[in-house]
Homo-oligomer: 355 residues x 2
């Protein structure tokens, strides 16, 4: 019930005073001195410290009048560290991207941590540093947070929940119901990378190439697309869990339309295709963490594509299909042979704990 | 890796079709059809459905220009259901209260769920219904959410993270650094109730009275206090984890002042006092979930007290002490005998998993 004192093993691992154990203790979640110490040592090590120190359980910021976007995401990815990122950077990118898909410029993030008793503080510091770096790169502060500790054996080291607030850009009218027959479907780059990378680490698979997660913040790429095509950008979506398949089926269901994709235009890199064949996965249903789908009025498709390609994260962007009249939610992929297969929203998940 | 089909036990527990298993499956976290079904069945059963259905990974709302408050809280309470509430209502109240303590009127909540594979869907539905009821009572919509599933044996049924956005009231200037010598310290009612109730359920203790958690939304009580005392309300805080002790030490440290409490004025109900004596707990360090501390300029203390007492949740409000010049963070309690004991911020926690 009371603080478990640091174990001898903790002491051996890192010569710290008793007040700074090397692993997460139950007391770190108690809201007392240990919680305060952990927050100051690990979470406030960076640039937002001054703002956060002045505050307590909430943060206050100035916003202009207008439309505000809010998005929240829980991250339970395993392993916590993977090529190209970790749960910290992933959490920031995921939430920044959800805001971007609302046509919003991110203005603030919050972060909540559920920590497992015994989780190494060094690993937590690494996750926190990664979050700070990712947030700084986007220019969006983490303004408030919370930390709870659960018993050893519960949790998986750390779960992270990020929530983002953003201001919707003047003129943006992004809504899945706006997808209309004739609209072009764009993707901003290679598909299926994040899922295949995380799975490969977990399963100890090796590929000939050095594939790393595509986890990245898309706010800037999206701003370029909105600059180029304005309200002719009808829908934006980041195809994370469930991949492109889930994203497009959901959009098509919302709008009461069908989508016809061109298999030859879909950018699926060779290592992803190879890994998916071995593992029996459909690359179009594998998670991406730094890609966006845009459904754009036909007259604006070329401008949107050019805007994507002008951005470092969108060099391999492509127009991959078209919205068509048809049964709501029907998404087909036209193959090389001229036939078409139906793309379904996966029922459950191919890859658990991918984000 | 693929969906685990519902077990025979699931089928016996509740005669549902295969597409609606009675317990949480991994596939419910996959972002595909099962996630969508779960969200529609369990989370969208209520009034916000129309708004949420139209949206996807984020929500958009209109806000006036001004100061926006943001707060986030992770809830890992065990047990999930306790007298006077459950993790769902607690999560709504906790976040509404954090916003209220910023002087803000809550305008929207988000909710993220980390579910354990095998958790009964009926229990999840009960938590979701309780959240909806609590949010409806406050008049604040849950506008967006996320659901992830972790392996059986991880998690504890459900962890909930709520984030709230609120608009700071015109004229409110609530900031822990504003506590100044001479200010009066008020509490809105009986102390230590939530912690003692949750612990009693967990430990199978019984008390002679039917004590229930004080979990409640304080936005309305706080609005009354701000109406009555305006910017002469210097600090607001809800003394949750770590209780009144943590809250006051933290405020006193922020402002570089000391606090002198009058033991005789502190409203600690007899069953709480009794339970704490048996358990070796200090009731002033036990969590509250429906109480607020206010530090108010001396001339406004009576008006603030009257406003608290005029509210159903503040009938037992009291002026319990005074801010004094002294070493930063020093909080003392003057006892009946005239002596004073030092009240410290608990190092770790007396009561793990209390919220």
């Amino acid at each position: 019930m009371s603080d478990r004192p640091p174990s001898v093993a903790d002491g051996l691992a890192c010569p710290v005073p008793l007040s700074s154990p090397a692993t997460v203790q139950r007391g770190h979640g108690g809201g007392g001195r240990m919680t305060k110490d952990l927050v100051e040592r690990v979470f406030l090590a960076g640039a937002d410290a001054a703002a956060l120190r002045a505050l307590h359980d909430g943060a206050v910021l100035d916003v202009p009048a207008g439309r505000l976007a809010i998005s929240t995401d829980a991250f339970v990815v395993t392993p916590l560290f993977f090529p190209g990122g970790d749960i910290g950077s992933l959490a920031v990118h995921g939430t920044v991207n959800d805001l971007a898909m609302c046509g919003a410029r991110p203005v603030a993030l919050s972060a909540a941590f559920v920590l497992e008793e015994g989780f190494p503080i060094d690993d937590l510091a690494r996750v926190a540093a990664s979050m700070r770096a990712a947030a700084a790169a986007v220019g969006v502060p983490v303004v408030t947070g919370d930390t709870k500790v659960v018993d050893r054996g519960r949790g998986d080291g750390v779960y992270v929940v990020t929530t983002g607030v953003g201001v919707v850009r003047e003129g943006a009218r992004v809504d899945p119901r706006r997808a209309a027959p004739g609209d072009r479907v764009l993707v901003s780059g290679d598909l299926g990378v994040h899922g295949v990378v995380v799975l490969s680490v977990r399963e100890g698979l090796r590929f000939e190439t050095d594939l790393v997660s595509d986890s990245a913040p898309l706010h800037d790429l999206v701003a370029g697309v909105l600059d180029a095509a304005g309200d002719r950008v009808h829908v934006l979506r980041d195809p994370t869990r469930g991949g492109l398949a889930s994203a497009l089926v959901e959009i098509a269901e919302s709008a009461g339309v069908a989508v016809a994709l061109d298999e030859r235009a879909l950018p699926v890199p060779e290592p992803v295709r190879g890994a998916c064949e071995i593992l029996g996965l459909d690359p179009l249903a594998v998670a991406n963490e730094g890609k966006c789908v845009a459904v754009v009025a036909p007259g604006a498709a070329d401008a949107a594509l050019a805007a994507m390609r002008a951005h470092p994260l969108g060099r391999r962007a492509a127009i991959v299909g078209e919205v068509v009249a048809g049964p709501a939610g029907r998404v087909t992929v036209g193959g090389r042979a001229g036939g078409a297969r139906l793309l379904e929203m996966p029922r459950g998940e191919q890859l658990p704990r991918i984000c």
